[in-house]
């Protein structure tokens, strides 16, 4: 084992550090209470092997994406999936409960009230994730990483262990189709990136955020189309989806930020870690209908009223494609474009 690679982050001061510590404790307390909202549907956690890679997600009506999701992550080396089903109505629950490597919990409680599902997942991570590599990826997030075609997620985590690294960062890449949204049907269960095979290769901006010691990335089609007049509200694209978990850890806002703070230093150039890309299949044809529903439910985003215009724009079925869009070809292309790096994992 190598020595732990703890980066030197900008100092927070004692007060700052203490505040973050209490923030983390508060989040853990919330999750502890949120466990009561969960109802067990299928618990196969007894099957979890030694030194597993666990995958956590909160889902709602994701029948279109889940078959591919499960297939992709199984192939990558995930040992067990832990899902929270938030009142799906399209058979998602029954489908997941029938999978041999899935444990499932139900809840009808508010998604927003549980910090967009994070409280539920944090509880499951406290309970089952302690000491394991935990992947937190929504149903529309497909992780790719350097050498993804020849090395498994397990190879990656073992290498990270060897380097003393406890987290792995990725950038979310919004994938979109050529043509108006909602017009190109993708067969349920098929690879969503057969239709969503375009992305923005550039135009991203980065900011270093001292408080959490992280690099924030913004840009992509959502910023270009829907937030051109309010770039401050554009969604963040950095994530820390893969963490060697400890029951004292907590995600702050979805998997963008995690505490303790040193886990966020995944892009730090001095550490030379590889980074990945989360291919985001948000813009499947169902987005148009879902947006209408979400606009009513008001369960996404902290400041819901800021995003009404965003939903309206999506409901109108815009075309995100532009002539400078780039067609997706695989991880080497993403590395070539500078969207991810292999670091010292040659």
């Amino acid at each position: 084992m190598a020595s732990p690679a703890v980066p030197d982050l900008p100092p927070l001061g004692l007060t700052g550090a203490y505040k973050l510590r209490w923030k983390r404790r508060r989040l853990l307390w919330r999750s502890l209470r949120a466990r009561r909202q969960l109802r067990k549907a299928a618990n196969r956690t007894a099957q979890i092997p030694n030194d597993p890679i666990l995958c956590f997600a909160t889902v709602r009506n994701e029948m279109g994406r889940l078959p591919f999701y499960l297939e992709h992550y199984r192939r990558a080396g995930v040992s067990h999936f832990l899902f929270v089903d938030n009142a799906s109505t399209d058979g998602t629950a029954a489908y997941l409960a029938a999978q041999p490597d899935v444990s499932l919990w139900h809840t009808g409680a508010s998604y927003r009230g549980s910090r967009f599902g994070v409280d539920w997942l944090t509880w499951l991570q406290i309970r089952y994730g302690h000491g394991a590599w935990c992947l937190t990826a929504d149903a529309d997030e497909i992780l790719t990483y350097p050498h993804a075609d020849s090395r498994s997620l397990r190879d990656l985590t073992r290498w990270l262990d060897q380097q003393g690294a406890a987290s792995f960062g990725a950038m979310m890449l919004d994938m979109y189709p050529k043509g108006a949204l909602g017009t190109q049907a993708s067969a349920p269960g098929a690879d969503p990136f057969e239709t969503l095979n375009w992305f923005d290769a550039g135009g991203y901006t980065w900011e270093y955020l001292d408080k959490f010691g992280q690099v924030s990335i913004r840009g992509g089609p959502r910023k270009r189309m829907f937030f051109r007049d309010s770039p401050d509200y554009a969604p963040h694209l950095h994530k820390v989806p893969l963490v060697r978990w400890n029951r004292r850890y907590a995600y702050v806002s979805s998997s963008h930020t995690v505490l303790p703070r040193h886990l966020n230093a995944v892009f730090d150039t001095r550490l030379n870690r590889p980074t990945g890309v989360l291919l985001h299949s948000k813009f499947l044809d169902e987005i148009v209908g879902k947006s209408a529903e979400e606009k009513q439910r008001r369960q996404h985003f902290t400041h819901t009223d800021r995003y009404d215009a965003y939903y309206d724009a999506l409901i109108a079925g815009p075309d995100l494609w532009c002539e400078n869009s780039v067609r997706y070809e695989g991880w080497r292309q993403l590395e070539q474009l500078g969207l991810m790096t292999r670091g010292s994992w040659q």
């Binding site: 084992m1 190598a2 020595s3 050498h147 020849s150 090395r151 498994s152 397990r154 190879d155 073992r158 290498w159 380097q163 960062g169 950038m171 923005d200 290769a201 550039g202 135009g203 991203y204 901006t205 980065w206 900011e207 270093y208 690099v215 990335i217 992509g220 089609p221 910023k223 270009r224 051109r228 007049d229 309010s230 770039p231 401050d232 950095h238 892009f267 730090d268 150039t269 030379n272 870690r273 980074t275 532009c322 002539e323 400078n324 869009s325 500078g338 969207l339 991810m340 790096t341 670091g343 010292s344 040659q346």
Partner: protein, 566 residues
């Protein structure tokens, strides 16, 4: 039985080690295994049983091996002693680890060594000559004491080193020894190895090296210099280190790379690299290649990777190059030109420039209304959006993205005091920027506009102030850009020569003489306009001296016949 014996140190991935052991013994090479004492006894017994049927395999006494400590040397010693005693036919002893993988048929190695019966292959250089010590101690590892583990008690280790330095403590190096260092993976002849192991001085040497730091990189390397008549200072084992000094691990995708290296043995191999083990251990012997090992090929590829990793690609900004203000490898990725005042002074400057140079010519990309990309596009390569809000959210990254995403095509853009000035320092510090400024030309649009004079006067004062600030930046001592500044009067007087210089600079496509000049705007009355500003109490000075009785410049339209600049 082969004349090459293998001493193998293993501590994890025992099934893989067993697989490699079988490969060696199948070719007739005896193998003595040293299993780290930290390995669980039951695991060890099981491992021993799996190899029990092989007459060429022995297990040596076990030592506790921790990185950087004596245990590894002790392990090599015990195992080597056993090898020399039990297999008298062995001529060369090859030290390998459990994660070493033979890349070429064993017979080739045997033949190679048989052809060099007196040669010891051990990388061995004096501390002054080695560049590869990364962040460690060099000569001091031979003169200080290291009772604390670097891995487990880093703090004590560091403090104790500091203390010894402060007290000027020095250990005496045994008489006659010159410390040498090198890769811990060697291949020694029976003669040299037995001389080291049977030396009457050995207890003294051992006692000394026991407290040297990382003795496995120096014990045999130093002592071999005492006895060997013929040292080839290189390791037959290919091993790479990354720039932080951690051993590089080979995976399935390195198959072709390893094939091309022609090396006999490589490490470290990822235990789960199924394809590598498959390819190198089960391939039929194939045609004998008889080539010299050539790690150079791999070296070049790795040097490139390390360079890219530590320096980055010029002008590429990405999340994993943060933080690093000032440590960029080049601010932008390629040359570009900035023109200030040209499209004000000439009526068709942008189209003329595009026609003459073949470059991509944008308007004012930092204009307050939003970026004026070439041909009126609202997006350019990389889906860069020209909206003012998005651009001004991070103007510096807007510019570097533009240059990066259009790499391969020369970019030119207009700039001026009306525009967002946030990028001035970035452009000035950037050696890729070629900036040409006609100072004071911002007054021309004011002069042509139909606005109230008070308003004009205010605007002129504002623009002049902004441009003066900008020129200060461009003339500062930190400026690395290629900067040319003319006053408007100077430029209008003789425009062809500067234009020719600028065009030549843009590159080969334009390496010819100007056949047509851009059309200068009509400046009839401009001198009077400036005078009016002066009369109103404003002092326009950046444009130089324009005579009030204007005439000389405006009469030049249609443009003068271009003259040749030789």
């Amino acid at each position: 039985m082969s004349t090459v014996g293998v001493v193998m140190l293993v501590h994890t991935a025992l099934e893989r080690a067993a697989q490699v052991v079988r490969h060696w013994t199948a070719a007739g090479c005896p193998v003595v295994l040293h299993v780290d004492r930290n390995v669980d006894h039951r695991v060890f017994t099981r491992f021993r049983e799996t190899l029990a049927d092989d007459p060429l395999v022995r297990f040596s006494a076990r030592h506790r091996c921790e990185w950087g400590t004596w245990g590894i040397v002790a392990a090599s010693q015990s195992a080597s002693e056993m090898m020399l005693a039990e297999f008298p036919g062995v001529h060369h002893v090859y030290l390998a680890s459990g994660s070493c993988l033979p890349l070429r048929p064993i017979e080739e190695l045997t033949d190679y060594l048989a052809a060099r019966p007196r040669t010891d292959f051990i990388e061995s250089a004096t501390t002054a000559d080695v560049p590869w010590i990364v962040g460690g101690l060099s000569h001091e590892r031979f003169t200080l004491r290291f009772p604390f583990s670097w891995k487990r008690h880093r703090y004590l280790f560091d403090r104790y080193v500091e203390l010894q330095r402060k007290l000027r403590f020095k250990r005496r190096i045994p008489q006659g020894l010159v410390p040498h260092m090198g890769s811990q993976w060697w291949c020694l002849t029976r003669q040299t190895l037995s001389a080291i192991l049977e030396d009457p001085e050995r207890p003294a040497y051992d006692a000394y090296f026991r407290k040297v730091w990382i003795p496995d990189e120096s014990y045999f390397q130093t002592l071999a210099r005492q006895y060997s008549g013929n040292i080839e200072s290189r390791s037959l084992t290919l091993s790479k280190f990354d720039f932080q000094g951690k051993p590089h691990i080979f995976y399935d995708d390195h198959l072709q790379l390893l094939r091309r290296s022609d090396c006999f043995v490589a490490r470290k191999i990822w235990p789960h690299a199924e394809r590598l083990y498959q390819a190198f251990l089960t391939d039929p012997a194939g045609a004998m290649k008889r080539t010299e090992p050539n790690p150079g090929k791999i070296d070049r590829i790795f040097a490139k990777a390390v360079e890219r990793r530590t320096r980055g690609r010029p002008g590429l900004y990405m999340q994993s190059r943060f933080p690093g203000h000032g440590s960029e490898n080049g601010i932008t990725s390629s040359l570009y030109s900035v023109f200030q005042g040209f499209s004000e002074l000439f009526e068709d400057f942008e189209t003329w420039l595009a026609r003459t140079t073949g470059a991509r010519v944008h308007g004012h990309i930092f204009a307050p209304e939003g970026a004026e990309f070439s041909e009126g596009q609202s997006l350019v390569n990389g889906c860069l959006k020209g909206s003012a809000k998005m651009r001004d959210y991070n103007p510096e990254s807007f510019l570097t993205s533009l240059i990066w995403n259009t790499r391969g095509e020369r970019q030119c853009f207009q700039f001026g005091p009306r525009d967002n000035q946030a990028v001035n320092w970035l452009v000035a510090r950037d050696s890729n920027a070629q900036i040409s400024v006609i100072s004071g030309a911002w007054a021309v649009p004011l002069f042509k506009s139909n606005r109230n004079f008070t308003e004009l006067r205010q605007e002129a004062a504002r623009l002049q102030q902004i441009e003066a600030e900008q020129l200060k930046v461009l003339r500062s001592q930190w400026t690395k850009a290629r900067v040319r500044i003319w006053s408007m009067a100077e430029f209008a007087e003789a425009p062809m020569e500067p234009l020719q210089t600028i065009i030549d600079e843009i590159g080969p496509l334009a390496a010819r003489h100007l056949s047509e000049a851009p059309k200068m705007t009509d400046l009839e009355g401009f001198g009077q306009f400036l005078q009016n500003l002066k009369n109103q109490g404003m002092h326009p000075y950046l444009m130089g001296d324009f005579p009030v009785e204007q005439g000389s410049v405006s009469k030049q339209t249609p443009p003068r016949k271009p003259y040749l600049v030789r």
